[in-house]
């Protein structure tokens, strides 16, 4: 089991330029690691396949609209080592946000990415079947964005 600082050091030693510092917003908040968009797939692949880390469970994948940019948050867990990590990616281009798909790593990412596309409009490259999940196919707009209104 590794604590957040050791995990961070392991990531930084391999992907130095693409990892931003550890962030904890308050005493009770979770600690997150932000990574750059270009290296997301490589970093998540490393987290899954490295035997000391072995994050075999994608617990949750969410999108957040932070007004000037979009964020995608990956919550990962390892059954073998009983540790977890939270990876965040910032997408600056709100008009055409694109991110690599992780469907090959975890099969549940298929449905989770479709949900994020449905509600936020983030395109996932190399996704086998990117279409809306919960809203009708002819729905216009991406409702969970902060600037969306029902009218």
């Amino acid at each position: 089991m590794m604590d957040q600082h050791l995990l961070y050091e392991k990531l930084e030693s391999k992907f130095a330029d693409s990892i931003f510092p550890l962030k904890t917003l308050s005493k009770t908040s979770d600690t997150t690691i932000e990574v750059s968009v270009e290296k997301v797939l490589a970093i998540l692949k490393f987290l899954k396949e490295n035997s000391d880390l072995h994050f075999d469970h994608l617990v949750c994948m969410s999108g957040i609209d932070k007004k000037d940019h979009l964020e995608v948050v990956y919550h990962l867990f390892s059954y073998q080592h009983n540790h977890q990590v939270i990876i965040k990616v910032n997408l600056q281009d709100k008009n055409n946000p694109k991110l690599d798909s992780v469907c090959d790593l975890w099969k549940n990412a298929n449905g989770l990415e479709r949900e994020i596309y449905d509600f936020f409009g983030i395109q996932f490259k190399n996704h086998p079947d990117l279409r809306r999940m919960f809203l009708p196919p002819d729905f216009v707009g991406h409702p969970l964005r902060k600037d969306w209104s029902p009218s």
């Binding site: 917003l25 308050s26 009770t28 979770d30 919550h75 009983n82 099969k107 549940n108 919960f134």
Partner: protein
Amino acid sequence: MNEIQIGPYHPHLPGLFHLSIKMEGEICKKISPTLGFQHRSFEKIAEQLPYPSILPYIDRLDYLSSMNNELPYVMAVEKLLDLQIPKRAEYIRVIMVELNRIASHLFFISYLSKVLGSHIPEQIALNDRETILDIFEMACGSRLLYNALWIGGVWKDLTPGIEEKIRDFCPALSTRMDDFDTLLTHNPVFIDRTAHIGVLNLETTLSYGITGPNLRASGKNWDLRKNMPYSIYPELDFSIPLGTNEVGSIGDSWNRYHVRVQEIQESLKMIQQCLEKIPEGPFYQKIDSIKPPSGEIFLKTENPRGELGFYVVSDGTTKPYRLKVMPPSLSAINCFPSLCQDVSLSDVFTIIASLDINMSEVDR
């Protein structure tokens, strides 16, 4: 190849969803589910309400286990607030949560037997569930959607007379579960229709992120109440049933049913222990204004269907900036089309029923 359409309304589906099945004779070749019929934009609504007001919506996520839904949410907000709640409140929460788990599993048994065409166990299970719903009505006035676990404790103390009612109920149900053994568990027809059907091997289960009884039926010894304990679970003595090769194979529908039946017995043990150990004291820690500091938290607890997770992002105001729910049934329904490859149509319904999906929490 024919293509048949099932749903969204169908008495044997666990909620509203549409299935488009490509068939060759009786064998299903490809299933494409369409979701979203029960989508009620819960996550968007949650961004516009103060933290305590969201609780009634959370009840309605998975209406069969409302107490279990409320628990991770109130625990997540309490953790962000760094709030300690009274010990008596923790015990009352666990009693309610475990009773709800039994009610949900009894509903699962009745639904599975209905799908297989066996109506007597269906009615017996629903009848036993009625006693639990009466207990909940005594506790908080409502049979199905409670709003009873509040941020800071529980809404009200145990009603006078309820402890006696629970004490009478637990051994009665424990003996009754033997009837289900005769009617279903060791019934040759039931075994024929569920053993070796819809086998989920461990690798697929982990890859799809399936948790809860479905994961334990596939052989993995993992239960959040034991492996990452929360509340007062460390003080309770219980065991974790797993899937076995006793009848059928590990990860088949029979094991998914059998794990839940055994979990009912374990929950009954836990409730009796809680009633013996519950301390006197306050049941609620009042907070004037619930304004967690800026930050985020992801907290999951063990629900009857799997691990329900809440991702709460706070911006320091009285309303959450983002509230995301990670429902356990979503992983199960994502996995379901791959389980139904080259399976006969009657087995498709057995597989859906054995996965214990609730569309209300999938669609939110």
